[in-house]
């Protein structure tokens, strides 16, 4: 967790999760998850609805605890540092582990430029205007949005199409140069063409980031990810568990567990 992510040379970090239990009040949503998320790889989380994938994802940057009554047991280490250790500031954690949400959520009061610069500006890092311009351009280029918006950076971000808005959100998340990027079904609200654009982007972004992506779309997992973790729910009311994690190729062709095979081949429920 070496801070000052101002240098362009970023380093993706591994995430090690051990014995993670997640609760909403008395209800246990996720039980006993241990996995290692490799750096510079895309790790897909798949599984049926309500099995705790999103909850697990949100625990990786301490967003889970924002829900009233939510609780976490276990450790999550980003580059060897347990983010749930006493004295660790959740706000600082989120500067290192960024997140992109299911529905595009650009800030409605801000222009395209300000949306991308929001993370830097709001974190009160004093930056020269030219430096900020560079970050905005680099982030928008990285999100394949620069050519579409370079002439209207001052226009509101809400004026973009859904797919463009989601790429704007990705640019916003990458502008603060996190080491890990979490994506919660980033393409589920988008049409197939915008979805493919996001998937291409995800494959590219892994050069700089460790990416964890939740998806309900099996093709998306097989197209875009290197590793796949399958979560399952034994029955409703019970916590979700990690069934297995392996290379995507192995999960989709020859998984160890029968439940995984049933799920990826469409026999589930």
């Amino acid at each position: 967790m070496t801070a000052t992510a101002t240098a362009p040379a970023m380093t993706a970090r591994a995430v090690e999760v051990s014995d993670l239990d997640l609760y909403y009040g008395a209800f246990q949503a996720v039980a006993g998850v241990s996995m290692t998320i490799e750096p510079n790889k895309v790790t897909a989380l798949i599984g049926s609805s309500g099995c705790g994938k999103s909850t697990f994802l949100r625990s990786l940057n301490r967003m889970h605890e924002l829900t009233p009554g939510a609780r976490v047991d276990g450790t999550v280490k980003v580059d060897g540092q347990d983010i749930y250790e006493d004295g660790i500031d959740p706000v600082a954690v989120r500067r290192h582990v960024g997140m992109v949400f299911q529905a595009p959520n650009p800030f409605p009061t801000m222009s395209i430029y300000d949306n991308v610069a929001a993370g830097l500006k709001l974190n009160s890092r004093k930056m020269k205007r030219t430096d900020l311009d560079d970050v905005v351009e680099r982030s928008l280029r990285g999100a394949h949005l620069w050519d579409e918006v370079k002439d209207r950076l001052g226009k509101p971000g809400m004026g973009l199409s859904g797919g463009q808005q989601q790429r704007l959100c990705i640019a916003r998340a990458t502008a603060v140069q996190p080491e890990v990027l979490l994506m919660d079904e980033p393409a589920s609200a988008l049409d197939p063409i915008a979805t493919l654009a996001i998937e291409d982007l995800v494959r590219e972004l892994k050069a700089s980031y460790t990416i964890v992506i939740v998806t309900h779309n099996m093709q998306q997992a097989s197209r875009a990810s290197d590793n796949t973790a399958f979560f399952n729910l034994e029955e409703s009311g019970k916590p979700g568990r990690l069934v297995e994690i392996d290379t995507t190729e192995k999960i989709f062709s020859n998984p160890r567990e029968k439940a995984t095979e049933d799920y990826v081949s469409g026999r589930f429920g």
């Binding site: 924002l66 954690v93 409605p108 009061t109 929001a118 993370g119 974190n123 916003r172």
Partner: protein
């Protein structure tokens, strides 16, 4: 209903696709589902029945439409009558003199509400200045920070405050100032205190409502960038809700600007211009209208005309505030999906 649901078909299908499976399945599903379903009538037999239903629906529809329209007209009648009366009676003195002179040295004819208009603006302005920060911050606490008992208690007291009769707010302000400055004290600022007591709960309520419709996704997007909570509120949540908050404040100003009772006992009656809210009595439009009617000169007609003109002015100010509030919301309102 002839085909069983897919969940029902799986176990029977699993028994075997061979002979015997199909005849075995039919009585099973038949026993479960078919008796409860009357056979579907042929289409032509449905026609008279359908027409009867359609007719009844049509009659009900018209009946409700008539009732709703009638209620609307009934509610509108007093408003139109009131507007007509105020405009027709108020126009007599709605002239330049009315807006340029006070009542100083006026016995009967002439005179104006210049001092009362100034007083209304000063008293209401001060009340707004006091009520808005308190109200908005209270709403931020309730919506963004508050939990459990304290939040419930504050919400309860805000509700109670909404129901306080305005004269009670006036008496509170009067009593509070009389404690320190002696009985019989009358100051413009006392009126502002009374009005802000009335205004705070309205501002809290409307601001809370506006903060509530800011999508949680925006707060989360901000948190996910590593932005602390207070900055998320000041830089993301408040700007998004700003137009709505401003609109709510304007409507609450419109609500209190016509208050009479609390001002009658706190700011008193005064016939000259006074622009210092911390020194002596101060006139305002509502009390002006009340007083012109209550103690007219001789002959009384000029006083009555001034009272109606003051009422018309007040209505126009309230209307202007409402229109501005709408324009602000339409122009600067943030589109939230």
């Amino acid at each position: 209903m002839s085909a069983p649901t897919s969940r029902e078909s799986q176990p029977t299908g699993a028994q075997g696709d061979g002979n015997g499976a199909a005849p075995e399945r039919a009585p099973l599903t038949g026993r479960r589902f078919e008796p409860s379903q009357p056979p579907a009538p042929p289409a032509r037999a449905m026609a008279p029945f359908a027409r009867r239903v359609e007719r009844r629906r049509h009659v009900t529809d018209r009946g409700v439409a008539v009732i709703v329209t009638g209620a609307f007209l009934l509610a509108l009648a007093p408003l139109i009558s009131l507007l007509y009366t105020v405009v027709s009676k108020g126009m007599a003195r709605f002239d330049a003199e009315f807006f340029s002179v006070s009542m100083r040295g006026i016995i009967s004819e002439g005179g104006g509400a210049y001092h009362a208009i100034l007083g209304t603006l000063i008293i209401t302005g001060l009340a707004t200045l006091a009520a808005v920060p308190v109200g908005v911050m209270c709403a931020i606490y309730l919506q963004e920070y508050g939990t459990g008992r304290l939040k419930r208690a504050i919400t309860f007291f805000v509700d109670v405050m909404t129901g306080i009769p305005s004269i009670v707010a006036g008496l509170f302000a009067f009593a509070a100032f009389a404690l320190f400055l002696g009985p019989g004290i009358r100051l413009g600022v006392m009126g502002s205190v009374a009005l802000s007591v009335l205004m705070i709960p309205i501002v809290v309520r409307s601001t809370e409502e506006m903060l509530r419709i800011v999508p949680q996704a925006l707060r989360e997007a901000s948190y996910a960038l590593g932005v602390p909570k207070w900055k998320t509120i000041t830089k993301v949540v408040l700007p998004t809700a700003l137009a709505g908050i401003v609109t709510g404040v304007m409507l609450s100003v419109a609500r209190i600007i016509g208050e009479t009772a609390p001002l009658l006992i706190t700011t008193g009656v005064f016939s000259s211009v006074n622009v210092d809210p911390f020194d002596g009595r101060m006139q305002n439009l509502a009390v002006f209208a009340f007083n012109e009617y209550k103690s007219p000169g001789v002959p009384p007609e000029p006083s009555f005309e001034r009272a109606w003109a003051a009422a018309l002015t007040l209505i126009l100010i309230v209307m202007a505030l409402n229109v501005i509030a709408r324009l602000v919301y339409r122009r600067y309102g943030t589109e939230l999906r």
